[in-house]
Each structure stands twice: as structure tokens, then as C-alpha cells.
């Protein structure tokens, strides 16, 4: 019967935040452990089967090549090309897919018109577009950006549509009751912010698919980029160079995903 009794369920007003750095270090531990196991197994396989270095070089050789390629800046140049292509295409996709997805998600008419195109084109893998990209754009930058654009466009579009459609109807009602009387205000003040976490997820997933698509595109038609580095290594029978390229792809992909996870955790909910 006491007023204070209901307050027991309430969380305290302040929360401690002094555990950030150790928590990050702890989170990195499983990945270090996995990396060590992979290198160990690799070394053991090399020791047991003694393969030709052009097929499987020992880890230490690859580390040397890595140091060499990183030291003279070649690795950074190739990585820079790949990253720049992905970011260009990914931004382009976002600029088009986010507004389009928001419109599709909030207007059934519009969705009915656009969705059939999306459903027909979406199953065609971005990799299947590579030959057409070469025919249309040649071997220059635009062809590769085009392929990555295809690869990043649909994940962003689909999660934006899902986000805009999935807005809790009661939030729309609340928006209307609290003064969003026309559709545009309701869209700006409720639909867009409510869909934002879902859009961030789409952007993150798209960056991953884009990163996969660019390597494939560069394998086929490029004179630069990490995909080219791998393809070139294969041509000149340098397995160590191929593996360096693969490691760079893995590490960069992992770092980007970690970065997006961080963005998602910190800004996915609290945007205006």
C-alpha cells in the first residue's frame, strides 16, 4: 500500500561506464585464439605433408611476403583501390536504395509498382553481372563500381523496406495524436527514425556483400585491388602472394564489420 513499493522495480538513475576498455580486450580474445589455432594447424599441415611452397608455403614465408608487400606500400595501394571502389558503390547504393526503400515501405501503391522489378532482378548474383559490366564499361573503374553497386543495392533496399513497413502501428498512432497530422510530418518524425536501426543493419550487411563482390570483380578484370593481387599471384605461381591477399581481405572485412557493429550498437537507436 506504500508508494515506495512501486519504485523497487525501477533501475537506478546512474550506470557505471568504467568497463569499456577491458570489455573490448576480452571481446578480442576469441579472435586471437582462432587466429593462433589456424596458424598452428597450417604449420602442422606443412610439417607433415611438406608441400611445394608454390602450393602451400609455411606461415613464416607468408609473414615475410606480407611484411615485404606491406613495407613497400604495394599492399596498401591494392587495399586502397578495393576499399575505395566498395565505398563509392556502397554510398551510391545507399543514396538510391534508402529513399526508394522508405517510399516502398510506406506506400503500398508504390511498392506494388516497384517490387516486381526488385524480385526479378534480385536473384541475379552481382557476380553474374561481371561479364556484362566488362562489355559495357570495359576494364576501368566504373565497371567494378557497377558490380559492387548491384551487390550492395538489394540488401540496403530490402532492409529499408522492412524497416519502414515494420514500424509499430501504435507509434504511428502516437505520432498522429501528438501532432503529425499530415503524412509527410509523420514520415519524417516517426517512420524514418523508427526504420533507422533496420537501415543501419542493411548498410552493414551490404558492406559485407560489396566486399565479396569487389574481390570477384577484380579477379576477372583489373590491374589493381586485392582481387588482382590474388589473381596475379596465381598467374605467377606465388601462393604466398595469394595468401597475403586473402589475409588482407579477411582482416579488412573483419575490421569493417566490427566498425559497423560498433555504429549499430551506439547509433542504431538514438538518431534524430
Amino acid at each position: 500500500m506504500n508508494i515506495a513499493s512501486a519504485k523497487n522495480s525501477a533501475p537506478g538513475p546512474g550506470r557505471t561506464s568504467h568497463r569499456r576498455w577491458p570489455a573490448n580486450a576480452v571481446r578480442a580474445l576469441p579472435f586471437c585464439y582462432a587466429a593462433i589455432v589456424i596458424v598452428l594447424v597450417w604449420q602442422i599441415v606443412v610439417d607433415i605433408t611438406k608441400p611445394d611452397p608454390s602450393i602451400l608455403p609455411p606461415p613464416i614465408d607468408v609473414a615475410w611476403t606480407f611484411g615485404h608487400l606491406a613495407g613497400d606500400g604495394e599492399l596498401a595501394v591494392h587495399a586502397g583501390y578495393s576499399v575505395a571502389r566498395v565505398i563509392t558503390a556502397w554510398l551510391l547504393s545507399g543514396i538510391i536504395a534508402i529513399p526508394l526503400g522508405l517510399l516502398m515501405g510506406s506506400s503500398q501503391h508504390f511498392e506494388r509498382i516497384v517490387n516486381p522489378f526488385v524480385e526479378l532482378l534480385r536473384p541475379i548474383s552481382p557476380l553474374a553481372w561481371i561479364p556484362m559490366a566488362i562489355l559495357w564499361f570495359g576494364i576501368g573503374e566504373s565497371g567494378k563500381v557497377f558490380v559492387v553497386f548491384i551487390g550492395t543495392f538489394f540488401p540496403i533496399l530490402l532492409s529499408t523496406v522492412a524497416g519502414a513497413k515494420g514500424v509499430d502501428p501504435v507509434l504511428l498512432h502516437a505520432g498522429q495524436v501528438f501532432g503529425c497530422t499530415n503524412r509527410l510530418t509523420l514520415f519524417r518524425r516517426v517512420v524514418v527514425p523508427a526504420a533507422l536501426p533496420s537501415i543501419v543493419v542493411g548498410l552493414r550487411v551490404a558492406f559485407g556483400t560489396g566486399w565479396a563482390a569487389i574481390i570477384a570483380a577484380e579477379l576477372v578484370a583489373a590491374h589493381s585491388g586485392l582481387g588482382y593481387l590474388i589473381a596475379n599471384g596465381m598467374d605467377i605461381l606465388r601462393a604466398d602472394q595469394v595468401l597475403v591477399g586473402m589475409i588482407a581481405i579477411g582482416v579488412l572485412g573483419f575490421l569493417f564489420d566490427t566498425f559497423f557493429r560498433y555504429l549499430q550498437a551506439h547509433y542504431g537507436r538514438t538518431a534524430r
Partner: protein, 265 residues
């Protein structure tokens, strides 16, 4: 259908009905006809069995649904859609999770032509009213259910509405928090002198809060009975008078619930 009376009453419901088209093309009467006048500052509680259309009634009052027939007028004007003049407290809180506690309360004020500094001070004033002034900068996810509903109460009162609509606002809360918020709501209502339409299926809650209780029939929902309560607040639900009232309301509701079930089988 009666011509709408242009009384100065804050809320005037006349001849309201709602009929739905089912998928097979049949029409199903969900509500009415209902006619009710609500006086300024009155706390009206509507009780009814589930599925009786009491939520439909509130949706029409809010302007989310159009009535099939009849009118709802607020201060003499027939309503045509949602308006900030009829603010609402929802069972699921319906707070905006991307905004801070303060910005949630400010949300409605921003849609009105109120200077920025004043929006902030009004929002803070209402947060103080619900005892959450220290939580102004918190995120919504950091609050408990009871605290969320207090933010929603602040948000609904802050926009200075003619009428407050409440759709089972305490239905999702635990019993203790619920008791606490019922008292809080009465305190704020007495301080602010607002007209309230409150929907619940809890008879106790109705007796604790209401100036007037309307009991609705099972579908199509009509007003089955009406009680005016004059006993002073805070009310003792264990007093003879309130126990008798509770028993009366329950026997009516039992009848209505039985009807629903025999109708369904």
C-alpha cells in the same frame, strides 16, 4: 441519426455506430448505437467484456477510425481525424525509442507553435509532475514499464488537450505499479482538471478512478448501464458501498460474457 448538438460540452458522442465488412462480404456490427455526453473535467471510465468494441470506441474518439454512422464532437466541433487536442495514453506506452525522455514529452509541443525554450520548460514541468525530472536525458530503454507509462502520462498532459483518451493504460503493468500509477493519475488529473475517457476491463480500477462508469454490452457494444460515483477520493475499495457496486457491475458483466460465449457456440 440525430443532428449534432452544438453544446459547449468537451465531448459529445451521438448515435455512434461502427459496422465492419467481413471478408465474406457480410457486415458485422461492432459498436452502437452509442450516445454519451461528457462534462468538462469529468473522469469517465468505460468497462466492458473483451471484444465488446470499447477499443473501437476509443479509436473512433481518437480519430483513427471513421464511424459508420453518428458523430463525435469536441467543444462543439465534429471531429474528422486525429488531433493533438485529444491526446492519448496507450497500453503499450508508445514512446519513441529514438528520443530521450525529455524529447518524448516535447514531441507534441514541437508540433504546436510554442517557442523552443518554452517547450523545454513545459516538458520539464510535466516530468516533474510525474516525478521523473531526474530522468530527462535518459533513453527510453533504460526505464521500467511503470516509468515509461509515467513519461507517457507527462507527454499526454503536456500538450494541454481538451480530452485525454486512455486505452487500458495500466493493463501491462504489475499489480503494485498499477496501484501506484492509479493514485498518481488521480493526483495529476485533480491538479490539471482535464476531461478523461478511460477504458479498462478492471472493475476495481473503474471504481477507484471514475466519476462515472459506463458498462458496455457484448458485441455490438452498447451502453448497458451507468453509475455515478460521488464518494471522496482516494476510495477504499473494501467499503460496503464499493463492494456492492463491484458485485453489481460484475453480475452485469458476467451476463454479457455469457452471451458472447453462447453466441459463439
Amino acid at each position: 441519426m440525430n443532428a449534432p448538438l452544438t453544446t459547449g460540452k468537451p465531448l459529445c458522442i451521438s448515435g455512434l455506430t461502427k459496422t465492419y465488412e467481413t471478408r465474406t462480404g457480410e457486415s458485422m456490427e461492432a459498436l452502437g448505437p452509442i450516445s454519451v455526453d461528457v462534462a468538462a473535467g469529468e473522469f469517465l471510465v468505460v468497462v466492458g467484456p473483451s471484444g465488446c468494441g470499447k477499443s473501437t470506441l476509443l479509436q473512433i474518439l481518437a480519430g483513427f477510425l471513421k464511424p459508420t454512422d453518428g458523430t463525435v464532437s469536441v467543444n462543439g466541433e465534429i471531429i474528422t481525424g486525429p488531433s493533438i487536442d485529444r491526446s492519448m495514453i496507450f497500453q503499450s506506452y508508445a514512446l519513441f525509442p529514438w528520443l530521450s525522455v525529455l524529447d518524448n514529452v516535447r514531441f507534441g509541443l514541437r508540433r504546436k507553435t510554442i517557442p523552443r525554450e518554452q517547450q523545454r520548460s513545459i516538458a520539464l514541468q510535466y516530468l516533474r509532475l510525474v516525478g521523473l525530472q531526474d530522468f530527462a536525458d535518459k533513453n527510453i530503454d533504460e526505464l521500467s514499464g511503470g516509468m515509461k507509462q509515467r513519461v507517457a502520462i507527462a507527454r499526454a498532459f503536456a500538450v494541454n488537450p481538451s480530452i485525454l483518451l486512455m486505452d487500458e493504460p495500466f493493463g501491462a503493468l504489475d499489480a503494485l505499479t498499477r496501484r501506484f500509477l492509479q493514485r498518481e493519475l488521480l493526483r495529476i488529473w485533480q491538479e490539471q482538471q482535464r476531461t478523461v475517457v478511460f477504458i479498462t476491463h478492471s472493475v476495481n480500477e473503474a471504481i477507484f478512478l471514475a466519476d462515472r462508469i459506463l458498462v458496455m454490452s457484448s458485441r455490438p457494444g452498447r451502453i448497458r448501464a451507468e453509475w455515478r460515483l460521488n464518494s471522496p477520493r482516494p476510495r477504499d475499495l473494501n467499503s460496503d458501498q464499493h463492494r456492492r457496486l463491484e458485485a453489481e457491475i460484475f453480475s452485469l458483466l458476467d451476463e454479457e460474457v455469457t452471451k458472447t460465449f453462447s453466441w459463439a457456440t
